[in-house]
């Protein structure tokens, strides 16, 4: 019974079925979504950690399909929404310590830049991969990044920029964060960035797609 529910839940996340009311995908219209199946699975006695594993695996498939251009951002957003709907039921178990996240990931768009779509996508996908995400928002000043890193020791940091004029603002953030917390691992991303640029400003990694961030974060805890 639990296995069947978990399989349905996995499908909901993979194909972006948020809840009963959601009309997408058309083939699942009128059926329960990730919201209902998670609730049902918990009531049926499924372990929260089992559910989380299922969700993470489903989001892994989503990330892979996105990387291969089999799906695009709208479909990925709906999968992430379905994931969030499921995660809402697991929150009490995270709070009690019954389920452990992989770690904490702080993310923000660098100061001077008000774009948020790329940052939001990465935040949703990383959360879906089992990490706690602290989203600092857009136009984030150096001090706010530093403060967040100090408040969350051991957290990894992601910094986003979408413009050539604002990508240069990432380096002062990296320098300030490394000055107070040299061991903090930092990944950067955004349309104008490259692996070479990331290396030149002292970042530990460059993420071209959300999946790159997830793969890199997993190496930190391997």
């Amino acid at each position: 019974m639990n296995q069947e529910l978990l399989m349905k839940l996995s499908e909901c996340v993979e194909f972006g079925k948020i809840n009963l009311a959601s009309p997408y995908p058309p083939t699942m219209k009128g059926q329960p979504g990730a919201d209902e199946y998670t609730k049902e699975a918990l009531e049926a006695g499924a372990q929260p950690s089992e559910i989380l594993d299922e969700l993470v695996a489903a989001m892994g498939k989503v990330g892979q399909k996105f990387t291969e251009n089999k799906i695009f951002v709208p479909q990925m957003l709906l999968s992430a929404k379905a994931m969030s709907a499921a995660m809402a039921h697991l929150k009490p178990f995270f709070a009690s310590g019954a389920v452990q996240r992989k770690g904490t990931f702080i993310i923000g768009t660098v100061f001077g830049d008000l774009h948020d779509i790329g940052k939001n996508l990465v935040a949703m996908m990383v959360e879906g991969a089992g990490w706690e995400v602290i989203d600092l928002g857009i136009d984030v000043k150096v001090e706010k990044f530093v403060e967040a890193v100090q408040q969350h020791p051991g957290a990894a940091l992601g910094i986003s920029a979408l413009l050539t004029t604002t990508m240069v603002n990432i380096q002062p953030v990296i320098e300030a964060v490394k000055a107070v917390s040299p061991d903090t691992k930092i990944i950067v991303g955004g349309a104008p960035l490259s692996a070479e640029f990331a290396a030149s400003i002292g970042a530990d990694a460059y993420g071209k797609t959300p999946q790159d961030d997830i793969v890199w974060l997993d190496t930190l805890i391997a």
């Binding site: 009309p23 709208p74 104008p192």
Partner: protein, 354 residues
Amino acid sequence: MQTWKTNFEETKQHYLNWWNHKGIVLTMWEHLQKDGAPYADVAAPAPHKDMNQFWFDPQWRADYLHYTMSRNSYMADILPVANTQLGPGSLAATIGADLEGREDTIWIRENAGFDGNIRFDENNKWYQLHLDLLKACKAKAQGNYLVGCPDLVEGLDTLASLKGPDNVLMDMILDPDRTLEQLQAINDVYFKVFDDIYDIINVDGEMAFCYFSIWGPAKTSKLQCDISIMISPEDFRIFALPFLKQQCDKIDYTLYHLDGVDAIRHLDALLEIENLSAIQWTPGYGQPQGGSPQWYDLYKKIIAGGKSIMANWVTLDELQPLLDNVGNQGLHINVDFKSEKEIEQALRIVEKYR
């Protein structure tokens, strides 16, 4: 029209040819300062008090533009056009988004209270600013240069400015009918605002756009759908193509701004727009720029599809190979000029192909 550009008639002919998929336009992105004396003794305006004045004070900005226009070079096909941009996508501000002027750009801030209805209000302060700025610039220009059409932007990009890109992308799937209604409403507002602007800035029917170095003998615009890098070709055909077609049908001369490698997947759909005149290619940061051999096949495909091309940030040493490989019919080349001497060098190369 007697402007500060002495060879404007020749340049106009180059543009007319180019819109008709013939010949070469040689120009640059915006301007560089001319050598020698300015065209007129124009005093510099007092320094701007803050970024609000720099961007949003019509009189100060008209004075500033008049000063810079009196000192720009208009060699080759560089256009005498004052850049009146009010942010990349200022149409959104006329229907509820907000503008925020900063040092390097104007940001379009989404409308937190957007209720899904696209409403145009003649009293909207940003709409009024568009009109006030253009009128002030036109009065100052006195026919010495053209006043460019601000970078309005349309379609999905404008909807994203109103309610955020995430919401637009999800609504395309969750509420496609409503999204299509909103896109039609945006196009309706676009035509109203564009026509109002055209009425102010046109000179004998001619107009120019603030960016992308385009001039036309009638209504002329740059079109785009930057958010298309995030959507499938199927969704582009549903949510972008019909509205772009409407624009191309109503506006006499149109240039589509194809931005980024991930946007190339929509090229086949764009080439199906019968009345689209030209396509501009922006490779994006981290990619070889417009003169690179990497894009020759892309340019050839666009030309074979019956559209003219615009290649941007071409370097001097890339110019001749570009012409040799892509041909000399329907090319608008923006060279990254640093001086008038470089313009002369480029002209010597291009003359051999005209």
